[in-house]
Subunit: 276 residues, 2 copies
DNA sequence: GTTCCGCATGAATCGATAG
DNA sequence: ACTATCGATTCATGCGGAA
């Protein structure tokens, strides 16, 4: 039986592997790179002082392979060390901009069940950054795909349309007066904000930094359509690629560590029995 | 009758006024400076490119007046313009560190009722930064003072603390604040995280940028004890100073605009009838 | 007295239009 | 080309009057 072309899983250092991918070929890059000095025993353990320098060549390649209307989402959070937050993430944002990236937005992932612990000088860290970068200002975005249920205030509000609704609408010149009202009448969903509320995944114990599937899912729905290409240069155990496949997107995953690569292959094979 | 020493309200530019305050005399600085190019019609309207340069002299004076074990909380959020987020807040953090400040933590204020609107390239902005800076690693912190009942603490507890009931009922002012906390004593309590869920204040019509009282309250309780000195160099309509007074802290507020200064004086006088 | 409901109002941001 | 101003879009909240 012929192997399907996607998902493509590649074992190797993304600094090398990315060079083999064609330019302007990826619709969405969603990744969570190894954090500085975290997971020292598994990855190389990049020192915070060297983090920007280490990441920039990768950023350059990601810029090359991304389509002009594609999006790059970087999930990262600086650690606290010796009583202070490191600044390498701030410096990375500034450096990526110098590289040509547009820093379009910073989403907040609020981790509802964050890591437990107690320290004398700080509380538990319950959020991470999801930095959005783009090559151009005209990128693809499908906002309707991630709309959320409206608050219950809506029921009351929409029973009777108030006078000001009409007044405000009147200021609009020409046609379309009744249109917007009709939109609201059967509307049950609203657009989300740039704050995401998701619980962290607890079931995967074999990879040390697993984010919930809902996280890549949200961004894949928002920035790609079916058949689009989704790249994760730090695949880990393959969450992003697995979600992409389920959503009928074409995933490309790169992973340096053989253990994680094997794990990702295994998980994906389990969902795609024909591959076996 | 003798005038009480606090709260002290000072009309003027904090770049000048701060020079009159003694060194190492303030326990907590909580402030929300004018954001770049926002409120242009009221404040000067600092251009994003000049923001860091404008703020640094103020940061220097704040560093001087703060006690070694004191804390500086800066509420700020960069705006999006022409499809991209500005970077002046990131640059300000780096510049303040060069000035000697320790960047201890970044709290997230999740604004439940954020500004509405729809754009093709972004969602509504529902969060702001609360940057914590310190002079030394051994700062005061009273974590037990902000413990919250298990479960959905933000909705149930903080919402009610911002009620205007406190303002209207003068006889209760001063004692009412602590009582509500007692309600929770027999419940199981946990330490909060670095994400705060609060709605913005919508009832104040006379100042355009009022944060909810629960916001300064949380940090005042966390970083000061009764009798401590709380400084707000950009007082606005006086929310921080008013909350400080109710919590029996000694407030110092500085405000440049005469209209806001008068408003702050008025609000505080209403809560302190003996001053009249 | 409770609950219900009408209503104004935002630390917003973009695209178009005007100078 | 570049800046200043304006209109359009959108939704959670709390107050206050009504049922």
């Amino acid at each position: 039986m012929e192997q399907p072309q996607y998902p493509r899983l590649i074992l190797g250092d993304c600094r090398d592997v990315l060079k083999q991918l064609p330019s302007d070929s990826v619709d969405l890059i969603f990744t969570s790179p190894p954090y500085a000095d975290r997971r020292k025993h598994t990855y190389g353990g990049i020192a915070p002082e060297e983090y920007v320098e280490w990441f920039l060549p990768i950023g350059q390649e990601l810029f090359r392979v991304l389509k002009p209307d594609g999006t790059f989402i970087l999930n990262i959070k600086e650690k606290a060390e010796n009583g202070e937050r490191h600044t390498y993430v701030l410096e990375l944002i500034l450096a990526l901009r110098r590289q040509g990236w547009l820093w379009t937005e910073e989403f907040i992932w609020h981790k509802k069940n964050c890591y437990p612990g107690k320290w004398p000088n700080r509380f538990r860290d319950a959020w991470e950054r999801l930095l959005q970068f783009n090559k151009t200002k005209r990128f693809k975005m499908f906002q309707e795909e991630v709309m959320v249920p409206m608050g219950d205030w809506a029921e009351k509000r929409l029973k009777h349309l108030s006078a000001t609704d009409h007044v405000r609408d009147n200021s609009r010149v020409g046609s379309g007066f009744g249109k917007r009202v009709a939109n609201w009448l059967y509307r049950e969903k609203v657009y989300p904000t740039n704050v995401l509320h998701l619980a962290t995944e607890t079931k995967n114990r074999r990879h040390s930094a697993v984010f919930p599937e809902a996280l890549p899912e949200w961004f894949i729905k928002l920035f790609t359509r079916e058949g689009d290409v989704v790249l994760d240069p730090f695949m880990g155990s393959g969450t992003t690629i697995r979600v992409a496949r389920r959503l009928n997107r074409n995933g490309i995953g790169i992973e340096l560590m053989p253990e994680y690569f094997a794990l990702a292959e295994e998980e994906i094979a389990r969902e795609m029995p024909r591959l076996l």
